[in-house]
């Protein structure tokens, strides 16, 4: 496992700076920091676990001197290769920066370090009667820093938005080793460029986040849940459209297609009808009277659209039962074949049926299996490709299918990534969505902040 000799000196200095217990360069550890949750892998020269913005700033100054790539990393749960060190260099792991610095109950914000696990933050603010709404499926493991860097979404996107809607400000170490503070603790600010949003979703290419000010909201006092089964996907889609047109904004509006339903049945035997076209899991929340009234409206709309069954949870235990199928979706699909590829192509919600039909046609054309589930309320589907990476011929078909799925999403007015980011896995598709001008502007921003292109190089843009 070769190492870049040009970095030996600087890595030694970095090791002395942070202490040898916070530095690793054995072959074994380098392999263990070569991946995220995609199939992409690349071996770094070393891994460092700094404990402050000052240490990170010093590391960046030194890294610039020898043009060493630096790749920020949280828990390594990303789904687009964002933390994979594709150009080698140093993986900068932020897990030691894991303090919740402040929870402000008067002004509804929290200040946290990037290594805080999202679930920990959510649980901690809940104890204060507050809510941090973004809830990516990885939240028990993924970190706030990673969530902000990738602009992670979740199940509550339709009503509550995604990570970017909660980032008020941050402290960032720039690629050249300066410490920058952006944003404010105020609801409103109109001071200069919105740098906070520039760094949000920048996938660790523009700066290293060392703390974040996040907006909190009062926790809703009540939840209602309904599971509706439809014979036909179009009826489910019509239900989604009608619910929103009726002025109801569900906190959760999740969807499972027929392939996913069957995978769930094979795995858990919940009792879902195998011939069902789609299942919707819908939740309303807020003031009790409002949530109850809204869920009745939802039930009514489900029935009007010919739902085969509409089950409302009477208590927390029943709610848990209704969630069984949705919770099991990924596990069920992941057990069908050895390799699972989870995409996140997203369309305007009215185009969800077109998208599902189109994905099914693509699956048929390339003779591969794709399950669809996800966040129907915000059009963010997870076409989940079930394959075997060892079968080269099939895998080539999978690659073609993925490209067609992206083309389809764009044709329907959507995006190639709803919540996973571009990283290394989708870099070659990005020009399709943002165009040449878009790429040029983004690259200009990157160059302005990172003249030596050392911070997470090889991401978003095909050529660096």
């Amino acid at each position: 496992m070769l190492k870049n000799k040009a970095f030996e000196g600087v890595l030694e200095k970095i090791k002395n700076l942070v202490g040898s217990e916070h530095f690793r360069d054995s072959c074994e550890e380098r392999l263990c920091y070569s991946y995220d949750a995609t199939l992409d892998e690349a071996i770094p020269d070393a891994i460092v676990f700094p404990c402050s913005a000052e240490e990170i700033a010093q590391i960046m100054v030194w890294a610039n001197e020898c043009r060493m790539p630096v790749v920020p990393r949280g828990a390594g749960t990303g789904l687009s290769g964002g933390s994979v060190p594709v150009k080698g260099g140093l993986v900068l792991c932020l897990c030691r920066l894991n303090r919740i610095i402040e929870i402000n109950r008067d002004d509804f914000y929290t200040v946290v370090e990037p290594g805080v696990i999202t679930q920990t933050l959510s649980d901690t603010v809940a104890k204060a009667g507050l809510m941090y709404p973004p809830d990516p499926s990885s939240m028990k493991t993924s970190t706030i820093g990673g969530n902000v860097a990738e602009n992670a979404g979740g199940l509550r996107g339709l009503k509550y938005g995604v990570t970017k809607d909660y980032v008020m400000g941050m402290e960032v170490v720039t690629p050249t080793g300066e410490i920058l503070k952006t944003g404010t603790r105020t609801v409103k600010t109109a001071t200069g460029y919105n740098l906070t949003q520039l760094f949000t979703g920048s996938e660790g290419t523009l700066g290293i986040i060392t703390n974040v000010i996040l907006k909190l909201i009062p926790a809703p006092e009540h939840k209602e849940s309904v599971l509706a089964i439809f014979a036909d996907m179009n009826h489910a889609a019509q239900t989604v459209a009608d619910v929103i047109r009726a002025g109801v904004l569900p906190a959760t509006l999740e969807f499972l297609d027929n392939i996913t339903i069957n995978a769930v049945e094979d795995f858990k035997h919940i009792g879902l009808p195998r011939d069902a076209g789609a299942v919707l899991l819908i939740e309303t929340d807020g003031v009790k009277e409002a949530a109850v009234k809204e869920i009745s409206r939802v039930e009514e709309i489900c029935r009007k659209n010919g739902a085969r069954s509409v089950n409302k949870a009477k208590d927390e235990k029943e709610r848990d039962t209704l969630w069984q199928a949705r919770r099991a979706a990924l596990s069920a699909l992941a057990r069908v074949r050895p390799t699972t590829i989870l995409e996140d192509a997203t369309v305007p919600r009215s185009r969800v049926p077109d998208m599902v039909r189109g994905v099914n046609a693509i699956a048929q054309k390339y003779n591969i299996r794709i399950g669809n589930f996800g966040h129907a309320g915000d059009g963010n589907l997870h076409p989940t490709i079930l394959t075997d990476e060892r079968d080269k011929e099939e895998f080539a078909r999978v690659q073609k299918a993925i490209e067609e799925i992206f083309d389809l999403a764009l044709f329907l007015g959507g995006t190639i990534s709803g919540e996973h980011g571009i990283g290394s896995t989708k870099a070659r598709f990005m020009p399709k969505e943002v165009g040449d001008v878009g790429v040029r502007v983004m690259r200009a921003l990157k160059r302005a902040l990172d003249p030596n292109n050392i911070l997470n190089p090889g991401k978003m843009f095909v050529q660096d």
């Binding site: 550890e29 493991t141 596990s331 390799t339 060892r390």
Partner: protein, 368 residues
């Protein structure tokens, strides 16, 4: 290297999602990717594909796996991590990779004295009253296990008193009792483990034993997994629950305490015994039973299996569990496994946490 090629599919199945991080007690305290299932699986793959040799670091990564199997429960594709790790450890041992010194010392002690401690085999039954020192044919055999025979005979004595009071006719092997083989399996010495298992089975067959009862959760797991063709394994909590329901075991003294039950991995996740220890505790008058938020199948390991080989790591993990019990307002933390008991006490001492940590049998004796 030809290294467990038949496990390739399990390795491919790992989605590298990282879900195992939040359930792995070793990762929680080390925060190192080589100390969690995802990293361990990647290292096994590296050896399998010839990217790495069986280095000391690969070995440490595998040997620090607690085999607690918590990650399998939340693994989306359900990779059988426990089986995979055991097989990798066994293959590593078979290929002649020498174990680290302290682990090998444990192995050699079992080989020579049939216990993992530096204790003589001839003194195994020293704790027993004279009338129980000699084995005799019986339906029930009480297998005390190494930890209880050599380090925690108080638990063994409690079990004997409880069984006698309930009128159970049982025997023990005394000095001729041997290690169940579980520690050997954990370190990958399958050949020696198989020898142990064969010797134990022969001894029990000779006495016509039907049920082997044990207060040790580690032995109980081994009995379930490797002895079920010869005897019916019972953890003492299962027998006690039955005796309580049959009216043969009655509690007269109340225990007005908040007690939290810790699901050890060997009795819990590995063996599926969750309710019987709780039933026994609930039968004690005035006792209030508390629960860890992560309980039963989701319970988090105390780190006990690493106490002999990686004691600092084991104690650090244990102190987290004790602290949690304290924060939940428990007066007593109760376990049904001598390894959990020892390790949780060590962890509490190390971290300076004052907590009353008891074995289930001690509570039962107190309430009789």
């Amino acid at each position: 290297m030809n290294f467990i090629p038949e496990r390739e599919e399990d390795i491919i199945r790992c989605m590298k999602c990282g879900n195992c991080q939040n359930t792995c007690p070793v990762y929680t305290v080390t925060m190192m990717e080589s100390k969690v299932a995802r990293g361990r699986i990647r290292l096994i793959k590296a050896v399998m594909k010839g990217e790495l040799e069986l280095t000391d670091d690969v070995q440490e990564s595998l040997l620090t796996c607690l085999q607690c199997d918590a990650c399998r429960v939340t693994c989306p594709p359900g990779v059988p991590v426990n089986d995979l790790m055991l097989e990798a450890k066994a293959a590593m041992f078979k290929k002649g990779k020498a174990l680290p010194e302290n682990t090998d010392r444990i192995r050699m002690n079992i080989k020579e004295q049939s216990n993992p401690f530096t204790q003589p085999k001839a003194e195994r039954g020293a704790w027993l009253p004279p009338e129980l020192k000699k084995p005799r044919p019986a339906k029930y055999l009480l297998h005390a296990g190494c930890a209880i025979s050599y380090a925690q005979s108080r638990i063994g004595k409690a079990v004997i008193r409880i069984l006698q009071q309930a009128g159970v006719d049982f025997t023990l092997l005394g000095d001729s009792e041997e290690c169940c083989g579980d520690p050997l399996i954990r370190m990958g010495d399958m050949a020696q483990a198989e020898e142990q298992i064969a010797r134990n089975k022969a001894a029990w067959r000779e006495l016509g034993v039907e049920y082997v009862v044990t207060p040790c959760a580690g032995c109980f797991k081994a009995l379930k997994e490797h002895y079920a063709d010869t005897i019916t394994p019972l953890h003492v909590s299962q027998l006690f629950a039955q005796l309580i329901s049959d009216g043969k075991l009655k509690f007269s003294k109340p225990l007005s305490k908040k007690v939290i039950y810790f699901d050890g991995c060997d009795i819990g996740r590995h063996s599926g015994v969750y309710e019987e220890p709780r039933e026994v505790l609930k039968a004690i008058p005035a006792l209030t039973l508390l629960e860890f938020p992560m309980n039963r199948e989701e319970a988090v390991c105390c780190g006990g299996p690493l106490l002999g080989s990686y004691p600092d790591l084991a104690k650090k993990i244990a102190s987290e569990r004790v602290r949690e019990a304290q924060n939940l307002g428990a007066d007593i933390l109760v376990v049904a496994c001598p390894t959990c008991l020892l390790n949780l006490k060590e962890g509490a001492n190390e971290a300076g946490i004052r907590m009353d940590i008891q074995d289930l049998n001690a509570l039962v004796i107190r309430a009789l």
